[in-house]
Amino acid sequence: MLRFILTRVSLVIPTFLGVTFLTFLLIRLVPGDPIEVRVGERGIPPERLLELRHELGLDRPLWHQFLDYIGGVLQGDLGVSLVTRNSVFSEFVTLFPATLELAALAMLFATVVGLPAGIVAAVRRGSIFDHGVMGISLTGYSMPIFWWGLLLILFFSVGLGWTPVSGRLDLLYYVEPVTGFMLIDTLMAGEYGAFWSALHHLILPMIVLGTVPLAVVARMTRSAMLEVLGEDYIRTAKAKGLAGKRVIGLHALRNALIPVVTVIGLQVGTLLGGAILTETIFSWPGVGKWLIESINRRDYPALQGGVLLIATTVMTVNLLVDVLYGVLNPRIRHSR
């Protein structure tokens, strides 16, 4: 097992290098550097511009800047934001819980709705329910996030006034961040009104972000269940005189979960990517919104560090999924 994890971790190194290099290069391909963006249209004397560029090391050759950056990263230093002068890492850590809270709830939503929908669709294959679930999930999968988000805001927030349009919490409340997860912090502070407010703020972003994973989970569950339901051991389970619920919910589902868990794990990347759009639509104060702002400000270190940390998160989750896979599938557990 340890060897397996070590192998996997070593495979991550090239990914790291690639991610670092690409973000470094791409953000510099965007016209305008941090100084120009901050100066705006007013302009400053050319000497001052050169001076400022020199201060930030932007006048050195690209490869030099890259090696400097990599050197820093290897020492665990992601640099400081050019805008706020705070360490990139501490900014990320402050904002990440908001993204994590949103992503976790979106995944929970996708699983809680998608898994049962997929199971029932498989068991009642060819029924109206099956066609309905598959049709809806195809629509959900194809829906652009920003459009879907705006549509929901228009209907539920603007039209019906059920949910707030943006943010994480009503301005009425203030809760000292302890874990950074609003739902937990408000409960810990005993502020139930704030908890409800936080929950209300979460609902729409959660649905928007969870829609694509929900569609993927439902479709994957359905096809995995259909395959498993035709297996000999399902016939054996029936021949034992087990009730239908137990045959489907235990004997079939346990086997069908193996591919579904993999898919859920792979969705984490999609989810964090989607979070960037979702957070921007809902003004959700997480790393997604922060990254977009960093691009606009040409805040090179913030963007590079942020992307690197998100990539690390995705790779860690994928590793965890691989380990969990072994727990679910005894055939893999023993061959390791």
Binding site: E231, D232, Y233, R235, T236, A237, K238, A239, K240, G241, L242, A243, G244, H251, R254, N255, L328, N329, P330, R331, H334
Partner: protein, 332 residues
């Protein structure tokens, strides 16, 4: 009045609805099994033997329609039962062993879990008693070190061992009828004999009835008391094993026996039956076996024979074979 048979089936038909139309896999068969009796069901692939057994177990999918004039087990009408009433019998009083031991056990659960599950559901056992009973069962089916095997997963055991586990699950609740559907087909020749011996031993020890489905006439000769030969979803011949092996009445049975290597001693080539069992769209007119029958006449090609009484049983043939050894010295 004779004692009521344990399993009593009259005029059973099973139809499958497919895109190509309705296919009758089992066509009006009668089958009775007495308490403690061993009945062999023989036939080629596609003759309807497995479908018959699945119908008895109530394991056919929703696209298989079961119709019968009578289908009783232990005096109870199986067709009139609700699914939950039926489940109380299935796995307890009627149990089944399947052909593919490697895929018939759930790969995600331990052997112990899968045995204990049956005991829990039907006998309500739990805790130490449950565990001890499972170990006892593994011992009875000849699995060495049963205690440590409880935590093994199916993929850690060989095919033969897995089949023993399947048998342990099947006999867990002391069934009155065990249906074994080609239990040795997927196994090595050396293991086949062991598994058959095990089944016969358990059958004798427990006095349970056994339906042994096979395409191997040799297996039937060694184990069964009565034989049902099936062809294209119908009963071709049904007679006690001794009589049938000594003098088969249906030409199909005769041909099957001729194809046994031990009966073809001295011949240069092993006799075979030309052609295959007719499938979904090519059922012939007249006797279903007529295109492959050496003795077929014009009558056989037009008129479908009923099951006629022959000595000690029945045969579906207008011209039952005589006592003379069939096809002696001939090569088909």
């Amino acid at each position: 009045m004779a004692a009521m048979p344990l399993l009593d089936i009259k005029n059973l038909s099973v139809e499958f609805t497919t895109r190509a139309g309705t296919f009758r896999a089992v066509d009006g068969i009668d089958l009775t099994v007495d308490e403690g009796e061993v009945v062999g069901i023989v036939g080629e692939s596609g003759s309807g033997k497995s479908v018959t057994s699945l119908a008895v177990m109530g394991l056919l999918g929703s696209n298989g329609t079961v119709v019968a004039d009578r289908m009783q087990f232990g005096g109870k009408d199986l067709l009139a039962m609700s699914p939950s009433q039926r489940r109380k019998i299935t796995g307890k009083d009627v149990a089944m062993v399947f052909q593919e031991p490697m895929t018939s056990l759930n790969p995600c659960f331990t052997v112990g879990f899968q045995i204990m599950e049956t005991l829990k559901v039907h006998e309500g056992l739990s805790g130490k008693a449950l565990r001890n009973r499972a170990i006892e069962l593994l011992e009875q089916v000849g699995i060495p070190a049963p205690e440590s095997r409880l935590s093994a997963f199916p993929h850690q055991l060989s095919g033969g061992m897995n089949q023993r586990v399947m048998i342990a699950i099947a006999i867990a609740c002391n069934p009155r009828l065990l249906v074994a559907d080609e239990p040795t087909t997927a196994l090595d020749v050396t293991i086949q004999k062991q598994i058959l011996d095990l089944l016969v031993r358990l059958q004798k020890e427990r006095g349970m009835a056994l339906i042994l489905i096979t395409h191997d006439m040799g297996v039937v000769a060694e184990t069964a008391q009565r034989v049902v030969v099936m062809y294209a979803g119908q009963v071709a011949e049904t007679r006690p094993v001794d009589a049938l092996f000594k003098a088969p009445r249906h030409p199909y049975t005769g041909a099957l026996l001729d194809a046994l290597p031990e009966r073809a001693l001295g011949k240069r080539r092993l006799p075979t039956i030309p052609g295959v069992v007719p499938g979904i769209g090519d059922r012939p007119q007249g006797c279903l076996f007529n295109p492959r029958c050496r003795f077929a006449t014009d009558r056989c090609r037009i008129e479908r024979p009923a099951l006629f009484d022959v000595d000690a049983g029945k045969a579906r043939c207008f011209y039952p074979l005589a006592d003379a050894p069939v096809g002696a010295g001939e090569v088909l």
